[in-house]
């Protein structure tokens, strides 16, 4: 008998919730500290903040713990919390050349002004399981530093800022100037306050992707790079670092710095000529930026941004409506899972149709 039709469903449901909580706690290990989640699973935190579209590492850690590590569910919890906050204002738009960089690479030139800064990355690791992690010693930060960087010159910090590689190409008129440069001049379209409509403005496009689900965006971007599309990406510059968050005082007009956020920015040059035949041949640019350290997402976003500028969309990744309506993790996971809800009224209605149609057909055959 279906679990819905029975009386006492309420109790069964509460039991299911309790069972889940029991499963989270039943093991012998001590409860996970959210501080541990935040400090040691920081890439997960970054992803949750980006897809949940709220920059709050502590809350993200709670969300991860609460949902037992389900990435989509954790982002959802964070996003739902965000939705209850009223909008007090918009921070001031920043150019990213003043970013406090912790990683910065370019694939377009061997030697770039400012140099390649590899920073921390999993890119160069061998994907071999590290058994030593099963039992890891608890040592302090200094000891680790000494072990990993014995000849580190601690007095040699990064420069304050790095020149933007794409700017150099723009100066040489090799790249189309993007409307992204004009965003800060106007109030952005706020996708959390207005329903997106198509064709969507550039600020709506970038916002939607900035909170998109990494896997979904990767899929669409990958389909484009692989051949169902026209973008031939070259990473002009990829940077990870911190951007200040500043707000203008509503009356005094003075600007206050309220904190900083870690972001990943990707500028992807499409190595085919711009499609506009009336202008001189140039490269074009796709732009990606998201919360936290998530290079896959930033690059996918940049590729999709470029793909959607195609004037005659042919592939799915070039179609604004297709991309923007399907990359949100919270929306897609909710709809996918809602099919678990009972549908017996509508199914009964469909049964009635098919039974009737069958009878009609049998009558016709007998004739």
């Amino acid at each position: 008998m279906a679990y819905v039709a029975v009386k006492g469903g309420q109790k069964a449901i509460q039991n299911s919730i309790n069972f889940m909580e029991y499963n989270r706690k039943k093991g012998n290990s001590p409860p996970l500290e959210t501080e541990q989640v935040k400090e040691q699973l920081f890439l997960l935190i970054d992803r949750i903040m980006s897809e949940g579209s709220l920059y709050a590492p502590d809350l993200a850690a709670v969300a991860i713990k609460q949902t037992c590590g389900d990435v989509l569910e954790a982002s959802f919890v964070l996003r739902a919390y965000r939705a209850t906050k009223s909008r007090v204002g918009y921070s001031i738009a920043h150019k990213t050349d003043k970013m406090r960089v912790i990683r910065r690479i370019s694939a377009s030139f061997k030697d770039v002004p400012g140099g390649q800064v590899l920073g921390a990355s999993l890119d160069y690791t061998l994907r071999l399981l590290d058994y030593t992690l099963v039992k890891e010693e608890n040592v302090n930060r200094e000891a680790i530093l000494d072990r990993l960087f014995p000849d580190l010159n601690k007095a040699d910090p990064y420069p304050d800022s790095f020149p933007k590689i794409v700017e150099l190409l723009k100066k040489e008129n090799l790249i189309e100037i993007q409307p992204v440069d004009s965003i800060q001049k106007e109030e952005p379209f706020d996708i959390t306050r207005e329903s997106i409509h198509f064709p969507a403005s550039r600020s709506a496009v970038l916002q939607t992707m900035a909170r998109g689900e990494t896997g979904g965006m990767l899929l669409l971007a990958y389909s484009n790079m692989r051949g169902f599309g026209m973008v031939h990406p070259v990473i002009g510059e990829l940077r990870v670092g911190y951007l200040p968050v500043e707000i203008a005082h509503p009356y005094e007009k003075s600007i206050y710095r309220v904190g900083e956020i870690k972001v990943t920015e990707a500028e992807v040059i499409s190595a085919n000529f711009s499609s506009d035949t009336n202008s001189i041949p140039r490269f074009s640019l796709g732009y990606g930026l998201c919360f936290g350290h998530n290079e896959t997402k930033a690059i996918s976003m940049a590729v999709l941004d470029r793909a959607m500028q195609t004037s005659q969309p042919k592939a799915a990744s070039e179609d604004q409506e297709f991309v923007l309506n399907h990359i949100d993790g919270i929306e897609s996971v909710g709809f996918c899972n809602h099919y678990k809800l009972p549908h017996y009224v509508s199914f009964q209605s469909a049964l009635d149709r098919v039974r009737f149609a069958q009878e009609e057909k049998i009558k016709e055959i007998k004739k």
Binding site: M1, Y3, V4, A5, K7, G8, G9, Q10, I13, F76, V77, R79, A80, R82, A83, T84, K85, S86, R87, D190, I191, T192, R193, E194, S195, I196, H197, F198, P199, E321, N325, I330, E331, V333, G334, F335, C336, N337, H338, L341, P342, H343, Y344, V345, S346, F347, Q348, S349, A350, L351, D352, R353, F356, A357, E360, K361, E364
Partner: protein, 291 residues
């Protein structure tokens, strides 16, 4: 009660629950109420709104929930049903949530409710002028069956370009001598817009026409609100010589309350495999069973 008073009350009760009355912030409620007014002014037209993420899943009634939370006040009595049942998963999680964020009375009795949130059914008991029925809508765009793009369907509605959906019905009839759309059957509202009535059975479609209560439809994931004001013409699409047909329950009655003019759920017995029928509207059935 204003949001502030609500929080104060909650704090006085030493609860650490720091959400506004009815969860949404007052600006959001205002925005949604404005969109509702627009929807009422243009019956059947889908009004876009900036749907908020709710603490229940997208596709689990977040649109209906936002409507309910925006219109509900302390004097209201709420009923929530899922597939006609007061006790089904979706109804329970929504009721639990609403009670947590506004502690208003909740009832199973259709007659006592002022606001009824529903998934896929209209109650059997006739609704009155002082009641509002809020539908949860999974896919608000009825033209989606023939056209995937929003930009295109928007234009089709603007121009009343509806031949494609009529053709869909025509082709069904030619090939199967029957229409394949079961629940969520398209209706023409106020002789202007073709509308998705949400996946209610065809049995409930006639109840939309000249309804005495206000009917609101909310689609959270798709970010649309639409409405049928009281006493509006609502008709299912039909041909003069192939008329609209509701589900056929002739000769079948509810095994519990013996009702015959209601929507029935088909129940298959575990052991014998025989079929029996029960009212889909559980509170109506219970009422009839009481002496």
């Amino acid at each position: 009660m204003t949001g502030k008073e609500w929080i104060m009350n909650q704090q006085n009760n030493k609860q650490t629950f720091l959400y506004n009355f009815a969860y949404l912030d007052e600006n959001t409620k205002k925005e949604i109420r404005r969109k509702i007014l627009k929807a009422v002014a243009i019956p059947g037209y889908q009004v876009p709104f900036a749907s908020r993420e709710m603490p229940i899943g997208r596709g689990w009634g977040t649109g209906g929930l936002q409507l309910t939370l925006s219109i509900i006040g302390c004097a209201d009595t709420l009923k929530v049903i899922d597939q006609g049942s007061d006790d089904s998963v979706n109804a329970i999680s929504i009721k639990k949530f609403i009670q947590k964020v506004c502690s208003i009375p909740i009832t199973n009795d259709t007659k006592k409710a002022t606001v009824i949130q529903t998934r896929h059914r209209i109650p059997e008991e006739k609704l009155e002028k002082n009641q509002i029925l809020v539908f949860q809508v999974p896919v608000p765009e009825i033209l989606r069956i023939i056209e995937p793009s929003d930009q295109v369907t928007k234009r089709m509605h603007a121009e009343a370009d509806y031949s494609a959906i009529w053709l869909y019905l025509y082709e069904d009839i030619i090939h199967f001598n029957e229409i394949s759309i079961g629940a969520g059957y398209p209706v023409m509202v106020n002789q202007r817009y073709i509308m998705d009535p949400s996946p209610i059975p065809r049995f409930d479609i006639p109840k939309l026409n000249h309804s005495r209560s206000l009917l609101l439809f909310g689609a959270g994931r798709e970010k649309r609100i639409y409405a049928i004001p009281p006493f509006t013409d609502v008709h299912p699409l039909e041909f003069e010589d192939f008329t609209f047909r509701t589900e056929d329950f002739s000769g079948k009655t509810c095994s519990k309350c013996n009702a015959s003019d209601v929507y029935l759920d088909e129940i298959i017995d575990d052991e014998s495999g025989t079929r029996s029928y029960q009212c889909s509207d559980t509170s109506y059935c219970e009422k009839r069973c009481q002496p």
